[in-house]
């Protein structure tokens, strides 16, 4: 036990002095996730806002001929600029991007409207421009609504129910937003948390085997009167500590970063506050031992630092698989799913982020199963150190 602590302490100190380890464990890993996440959420929200809330800019020529229509458009979040353009000049103004959309109201519009004849309007736009296409569609929709209202009042004036003109009513039920998008985003967020955690122990795991071997310090180390598995347990423990710090830094970064993002728009708990962060920490922490041991086991099969690095990059992807699976099949938390490490952390963290209550049994199963897997993997790492091949 004493030897284990000696190894643990030395690994903590030595790696703390290594700039690469520090940067990747405590800076790059933990901050990359929250940063990416903030950017992605920002883009997502931005898109949502653009689609629904932002005003559409519309230049109207001949607005004097249809004051009611112009008022209707203005009431429906259209930023109207009044101008005096004819068709030719309207085309030119679109081509030179002076305007995005131009609505031309001809002189005969009020006259034809009054006599109950179809009143012509001209909407000039560049359909090849993606963004404009969306705006044009909205204007067309608004014009349709306006026309519908006019039509209804005409029918009413003639004593006919407007329902006659509506043989079918379609109710659009859109289930994709925002909960669906949120699921994707939540999956990413929990993955970033697990990723940062693994990054925290990556270099220690490499150092424990491939690094020591490459430096030529493994052989002298194995000549000390300490059982080999004790040495490796000390190293795994040190990796665990770095991973826990890494996890904590990640969550702090998320807490600070997400304070500026309106999470409720994505169906998540509105405040990712210290209490939630603490709960996420406790739910994710049991995975640390498994992660550290798994990386050590994989690294112990490699012959060089570089080789270990490339293999461990793959290991960093391992926790995504259950998360991907969960996303594909929209898995709901259940007791037996809690027995699967990384998936159970993902599901529990998702619950927490959505401000849903945690099932105590689920937490218990997740913690016990993950720790058991971690202990088993640590034991395997210890066994692997008994092999003569470990000397390289």
């Amino acid at each position: 036990m004493r030897a284990l602590l000696i190894v643990w302490r030395k690994e903590l100190i030595e790696n703390f002095r290594d700039r690469r380890t520090l940067v990747s464990a405590l800076l790059f890993g933990p901050l990359f996730g929250p940063f990416m996440f903030a950017v992605l959420i920002g883009l997502l929200l931005d898109k949502t806002v653009t689609e629904s809330d932002q005003k559409v800019e519309l230049a109207i020529a001949g607005s004097a001929h249809a004051p009611n229509l112009v008022r209707f458009l203005e009431d429906h979040d259209v930023a109207v600029t009044r101008s005096e353009l004819d068709v030719e000049r309207a085309r030119a103004s679109i081509r030179y991007s002076t305007h995005r959309l131009v609505l031309l109201i001809p002189e005969e519009y009020p006259k034809r409207l009054q006599s109950g004849l179809p009143a012509p309007l001209k909407l000039v736009s560049d359909a090849s421009d993606n963004q404009t296409g969306k705006y044009a569609a909205r204007i067309r929709l608004l014009l349709g609504v306006y026309a519908g209202q006019l039509g209804s009042s005409r029918l009413l004036a003639r004593g006919v129910s407007p329902d006659v003109m509506q043989p079918i009513v379609v109710d659009d039920i859109d289930v994709s937003t925002p909960a669906g998008r949120a699921l994707l985003v939540l999956g990413m967020m929990t993955y970033f948390i697990l990723f940062a955690m693994l990054m925290g122990g990556l270099y220690l795991a490499i150092d424990a085997t491939a690094g020591e071997r490459e430096r030529g310090s493994l052989e002298p180390l194995l000549t000390v009167p300490v059982p080999r598995e004790t040495l490796i347990y000390g190293k795994v423990l040190a990796a665990c500590c770095y991973m826990l710090v890494s996890l904590a830094v990640t969550l702090i970064a998320f807490e600070i970063g997400l304070a500026f993002v309106p999470l409720e728009a994505l169906g998540m708990t509105a405040n990712f506050d210290t209490v939630v962060a603490l709960k996420v920490f406790l739910v994710a922490a049991p995975f640390v031992l498994l992660g550290a041991a798994l990386m050590t086991v994989v690294a112990s099969f490699t012959r060089s630092y570089r080789e270990a690095q490339s293999y461990l990059t793959v290991v960093l992807l391992v926790p995504t698989l259950p998360i991907l699976f969960a996303g594909l099949y929209s898995l709901k938390p259940s007791t037996w799913l809690m027995a699967i490490p990384s998936l159970s952390q993902h599901l529990l963290m998702t619950n927490l982020l959505r401000d849903e209550p945690l099932e105590p049994l689920h937490v218990l199963v997740s913690v016990v199963a993950t720790l058991a897997a971690g202990l088993a993997m640590t034991w395997i790492a210890g066994r692997l150190y008994q092999r003569e091949a470990i000397l390289g």
């Binding site: 000696i6 190894v7 100190i13 430096r215 030529g216 310090s217 052989e219 002298p220 180390l221 000397l391």
Partner: protein, 243 residues
């Protein structure tokens, strides 16, 4: 005292050791001499309990390398062929780490480290991180690390490889000093002159078997040769791998 008995060891289809036996006495320097690939490192690694022999065994101060590996390690100070140090620790910290792993108390570690820093003339660089050490400096740290627990038996695998003349002289001085203090010193080398100049007893090993052993004079006389080198060549049966 180190006693090796009928060691056999294979790596896959390669038979590295085919029955190696010899003893190294306290207060004497024993040289394990042989061409590259003769099995010197494998022998020393097996002795240091890093490898398990397929057959045969060995004893260090009476402790069996197979049944009491931790006791054996306590009584051995090993300088392996690849003796890397931790680049982010200072020389002194490198030495202390091994002292702690050998179970020494903090005070004793400090005292022993200080002694070794003086003995090996490391004061200039001992408190610097090992990252920028020269090969000689690294080797000094590695030797100090192997001696920190004052082992009765010292095993050095090709200790002078890569050292300059001055460092080699200093190392020889240290090895003789260990002999004066009554230690059992076992070192391997493929450099004839080194073994001839330093060793009290010589064990010549080739292709996994011991082909000759005794004092340098005995080996010379037995082989009917004028020099140890001639005796060596006649013992191993060829001039391969000689320097």
């Amino acid at each position: 005292m180190i006693a090796i008995e009928e060691l056999h060891k294979s790596f896959g289809s390669v038979r590295a050791l085919k029955g190696v036996s010899f003893t190294a006495q306290d207060g004497r320097i024993t040289g394990l001499l042989g061409p590259n690939g003769a099995g010197k490192s494998t022998t020393l690694r097996t002795l240091a309990t890093l490898l398990k022999p397929d057959a045969g065994g060995g004893r260090v101060d009476g402790y069996d390398i197979l049944t009491a590996p931790l006791e054996v390690r306590r009584r051995l100070g090993v300088l392996p062929h690849s003796a890397g140090v931790y680049p982010n620790l200072s020389g002194r910290e490198n030495i202390s780490y091994f002292g702690a792993l050998h179970g020494l108390g903090a005070q004793l570690i400090e005292q022993r480290t200080e002694e070794l820093v003086t003995l090996l003339e490391m004061r200039e660089f001992a408190d610097r991180r090992a990252k920028g050490y020269s090969q000689g400096e690294r080797l000094k740290v590695a030797i100090a690390r192997a001696l920190v627990h004052s082992p009765r038996n010292v095993v050095l695998d090709e200790p002078t490889t890569g050292l300059d003349v001055m460092a080699t002289r200093a190392l020889r001085g240290l090895i003789r000093r260990l002999r004066e203090e009554g230690h059992c010193v076992l070192l391997s080398s493929h450099v004839m002159q080194e073994v001839g100049a330093l060793c009290d007893d010589v064990v010549i090993i080739a292709r996994g078997v011991v082909v000759a052993q005794g004092t340098p004079d005995e080996i010379r006389q037995r082989g009917g040769a004028a020099t140890l080198e001639d005796a060596f060549v006649s013992a191993i049966g060829s001039g391969e791998g000689l320097e």
